[in-house]
Symmetry: D2
Subunit: 197 residues, 4 copies
Amino acid sequence: MYSPLIQKLISIFAKFPTVGPRTAARFVFYLLKLSKEEINEITQSISTLKEKVKFCSFCFQPFEGEEELCEICRNPKRDKSLLCVIEKETDLVPLEKTHKYQGRYFILGGTVAKLKQEDIKNLRTEELLKRAENPEIQEIIIATNPTTEGESTVLYLERILKPLNKKITRLGRGLPVGSELEYADEETLGSALEGRK
Amino acid sequence: MYSPLIQKLISIFAKFPTVGPRTAARFVFYLLKLSKEEINEITQSISTLKEKVKFCSFCFQPFEGEEELCEICRNPKRDKSLLCVIEKETDLVPLEKTHKYQGRYFILGGTVAKLKQEDIKNLRTEELLKRAENPEIQEIIIATNPTTEGESTVLYLERILKPLNKKITRLGRGLPVGSELEYADEETLGSALEGRK
Amino acid sequence: MYSPLIQKLISIFAKFPTVGPRTAARFVFYLLKLSKEEINEITQSISTLKEKVKFCSFCFQPFEGEEELCEICRNPKRDKSLLCVIEKETDLVPLEKTHKYQGRYFILGGTVAKLKQEDIKNLRTEELLKRAENPEIQEIIIATNPTTEGESTVLYLERILKPLNKKITRLGRGLPVGSELEYADEETLGSALEGRK
Amino acid sequence: MYSPLIQKLISIFAKFPTVGPRTAARFVFYLLKLSKEEINEITQSISTLKEKVKFCSFCFQPFEGEEELCEICRNPKRDKSLLCVIEKETDLVPLEKTHKYQGRYFILGGTVAKLKQEDIKNLRTEELLKRAENPEIQEIIIATNPTTEGESTVLYLERILKPLNKKITRLGRGLPVGSELEYADEETLGSALEGRK
């Protein structure tokens, strides 16, 4: 229904995470209303991103700069004995915002559903093993989501990390703020009972 | 719009928890379709409930029988060193279903918002103190909801139970099953980090 | 988990429309907190309902009184040329609240899904035919829900009413107040276009 | 928390319609995973869009080509006596999908809330008036959303179009497909009654 160029850009935006064709169309009509300068700023920013942003050689967090390591990994105040394994880049911010974690991170790059080989290939497990072998690391916190995928990822990582004989932990389960005991599932409530303090 | 008797019964049902006038009307039309026998069964059951059901003299759980104590409280296998304080009757079932708690309960009868005097009067705090004083009780688990009301109730109960010098705990906070780290609030995620294991 | 009487009343309430076992349990604990007088009022109202309330001999709306006809049906100001067929009792109130309809109603008692014989048996189709045959009735408005069930009921009623050679209408489709054109389904939007004015 | 380039692109995406900072961050991490070629395709498509796509000189629908008019406006089969005024570009597709409208469109460019002068300035009212004056146009369908803003836009447009002495209509209101009469608002149900057929 739309002209080819518009249709093509709708298809491109429809591949962005969380975006469907309807929202993609709204993106295109939004762009059409911008000035030439604003459009240039957008395309420039996207191009430069790819050129200038690289991935931290330790944790794989994207950052820009001459250094090999991102800001967190080269911060001497971070506790080098702790390594927090997260699924994806956007899981880092909420953990930092708690101000309760002072160690380093490692971005795994995904999860393993039902231990499928193709899922496993996409994870940075070799790199994780290399980081984890370092004697300065004493505890590996597997901070995957408490979902089925997250859980099978924990099981998989525990298995491959076991030979290192290090402390392996996962995030505590329990009742979230604002929830109601009456509507909690048995597993969550059981964890909340066991984790009482 | 409805005739007086129907209107009256709608008002009665609209006072039931979670029921609004529209649902109350549906209840009345449901009743109108039942047979005389079914109606008798309902009214009989409601009347008998009030006559036969009494409240456990220890935990205030409603039950029927000749005994003073409910089934849980008179069960010799339950751990008498633990007392779990809950807000209301319906909070007991989910805790029992976890099969992770073997102590006894105490139904507080509500919560305290902003330490209002009238809220406090409605709680069974005197009875709780009497139960808690018993030397066989070693730990009091305050299992209120992790909401603002639940939290201020914890603070209030901790204050009045403090002189007893007993272990006072609350349910652990953390990530519930099926949730996503990226959307967890800071407090919940902080608790999940601290409660890692 | 609950004692037999409580459990029985939970089962009874769980059969009420929209009520699940958890809400049913809350109803029982609500009743347990009421005084003997309040309980008596409830059981009395339920019993009297069954005794005193009867169904209008024309429209089947429940009402109380010595008359054969409900208040609407015996109101001389209502337009006797119009008959509005509704699925159930609770559909009458919203139609009356529009103040746009001055005719009489007929409560069909349900819908027909896929023209199943057992569904058809539960409807008051014979009674409807008798009312509709009356020469004073000039238009029959089939006000079923615009759902699949409601639509197949319209088709069924149109078929059996056709021999009467009367005007048969249904509620107009279109955009509801507060909706957005962009999210309207094609059928609704097509009706809105055709019904423009 | 993110590096400047990432942060800048997050701000840019956060201005896209329906996008918040969290989704904007996911867009950036999505882009970081694409190949150089894929990035080039995206930036090229965005730049070309601005260069090649122009607005139809009649209806303001964006399109590409050498012509002055978009495909719909230059289609000789479209009914030139009808003009459908829509709020925004994305409202055109659902109307076309109904296959119930064969006239032309006019994209107003927004709505007027409370007849604010600054809202009015952003609308293409002068252009609308010019189009509407053309004697070949016999009916103007104001197809704004049935919301408060849409309604006050109808009132405003009716006022300025009145001197032309043409038929001015709006989309019909009524029950949408799949809805339930019992939960319809009075205005919608009233319209459904009046628009019965």
